[in-house]
């Protein structure tokens, strides 16, 4: 099983980024982080402590153009079972686009790991209730509500050994 996590790395890595990587790691399988922004690769390497096996930074995308970012993620995520975002304003712009482009079900505002039946708990009715959402597609997109799970460091030494840094420039149409 492969999981993709998108991180917007303009500025600094916040707690939400570590939560998203932790969540993806707990889904099982490998975790590949796709990042855009100007943050140094050494800082992005911190994600290895939380379970990232690979970090791929696209230095060709400088701003927050969700069409450009969506196009890049869709190129990189073939074969990934889960695509995880932190449910911030980037995710609210990119994840729905990606859902249409990939025809992958989107679970927005997840507050927990999937249940045994594959459904994911989300807040509904403005926090007055919870819903359990199931995807009908093999590939699913999960936007994790910040502060829903605690970031957890894994065996940092082994994670770092597996971490591959690749800075990649892509020309997107």
């Amino acid at each position: 099983m492969g999981n993709i996590v998108y991180i917007n790395a303009n500025g600094h890595l916040g707690k939400a980024a570590f939560e998203a990587v932790t969540y993806a790691k707990k889904l099982g399988g490998t975790v590949k982080v796709l990042a855009t922004g100007s943050l140094e690769s050494s800082s992005l390497g911190q994600l290895g402590k939380y379970g990232a096996n690979e970090v791929l930074v696209n230095r060709g995308i400088i701003g927050n153009d969700d069409q450009e970012i969506c196009a890049w993620i869709s190129q990189e995520c073939s074969g990934a079972e889960n695509i995880v975002f932190s449910n911030d304003f980037h995710a609210k712009a990119i994840a729905p686009r990606l859902s249409v482009r990939l025809k992958a079900g989107l679970i927005a505002g997840a507050v927990a790991l999937p249940e045994a039946d594959g459904s994911v708990k989300v807040n509904v009715f403005s926090g007055k209730a919870f819903g359990y959402v199931q995807c009908k597609t093999a590939q699913r997109i999960i936007a994790l509500l910040p502060n829903s799970i605690a970031p957890e460091e894994t065996d940092s030494d082994s994670a770092y050994k597996k971490l591959i840094h690749r800075d990649k420039l892509l020309q997107l149409k």
């Binding site: 500025g11 916040g14 927050n64 969700d66 069409q67 969506c70 911030d88 304003f89 609210k92 712009a93 990119i94 994840a95 729905p96 686009r97 859902s99 249409v100 482009r101 025809k103 992958a104 079900g105 989107l106 679970i107 927005a108 505002g109 039946d117 459904s119 708990k121 989300v122 807040n123 509904v124 009715f125 403005s126 926090g127 007055k128 209730a129 919870f130 819903g131 359990y132 959402v133 199931q134 995807c135 009908k136 597609t137 502060n147 605690a150």
Partner: protein, 246 residues
């Protein structure tokens, strides 16, 4: 300018939230539906303000059964020119967005406005999905919108500040607080709404990708825990592990 405003129904904010059918469906008994506040207060009213200042045709659209026409008439009473209802159960955001995108592609709108989210499902998905469906730029959670010739100037709050964006038409925008102020329909508007065109279209047969399989109510709030003033370790432990606020 042609503006399409996406309207959704939502339970009145004072409604009791309960579930039926073994917690697999929302219990609609005694629930009064309203226009989703983000769709009405911000998206629709801002569209009407644009109509009044630079001129525009404002069409509202919803995906839903005939029962939704009551909320559509209210939106027409506030000032929309015409309404379109896609006659289908709104099974998920993907389905709804694709149905609206298909209509928008046929009619060619300059501006598509949605609320930032519905107050029942809180998904914030429709705007981005429509944008992808009509291959247009999308600005999410905008709090200010001004027409500037052939483009739009927008503002949205981001972490640590406000982002200013300028985008050409056609564009999709999801509207948040600050965009406009609520309007109450007047008697003239209510009377006029009865005769404004409301077109019912058959769905294009798009699929849905997700389904709500169950609902649950949150646990009842527990009683207040009193911690001894000298027992700071326990207080910190509870705040960290139970309340998860530090």
């Amino acid at each position: 300018m042609k503006i399409l405003v996406c309207i959704s129904k939502a339970p009145d904010t004072t409604s009791k939230i309960a579930f039926t059918n073994n917690n697999t469906a929302f219990d609609e008994n005694g629930v009064q539906y309203i226009v989703n506040p983000y769709d009405e207060w911000y998206a629709l009213v801002r569209a009407l303000e644009i109509k009044e200042t630079v001129g525009a045709d404002v069409t509202i659209i919803t995906v839903g059964p005939a029962a939704d026409e009551a909320i559509m008439r209210k939106a027409l009473a506030i000032g929309a020119d015409e309404a379109v209802r896609i006659d289908a159960e709104p099974t998920d955001a993907f389905f709804v967005a694709n149905e609206i995108a298909a209509y928008a592609n046929e009619k060619g709108f300059d501006l598509v406005l949605t609320g930032k989210e519905t107050i029942n499902f809180n998904g914030s998905q429709i705007g981005g999905m429509i944008a992808e469906g009509i291959k247009a730029p999308y600005v999410s959670i905008a709090s200010k919108l001004d027409v500037n010739g052939a483009s739009l100037k927008l503002e949205r709050e981001i972490i640590g500040g406000v982002e200013q964006v300028e985008v050409p038409f056609p564009v999709v925008v999801s509207c948040a607080k600050g965009m406009a102020e609520q309007r109450i329909p007047n008697m003239r508007g209510i009377m006029a709404a009865r005769t404004k065109p409301l077109t019912v279209l058959s769905p294009k047969g798009n699929e849905s990708l997700t389904a709500y399989v169950a609902y649950a109510s949150p646990q009842a709030k527990s009683s207040v825990k009193l911690i001894d003033a000298n027992n700071l370790d326990e207080l910190i432990s509870l705040l960290h592990n139970e309340a998860k606020v530090i």
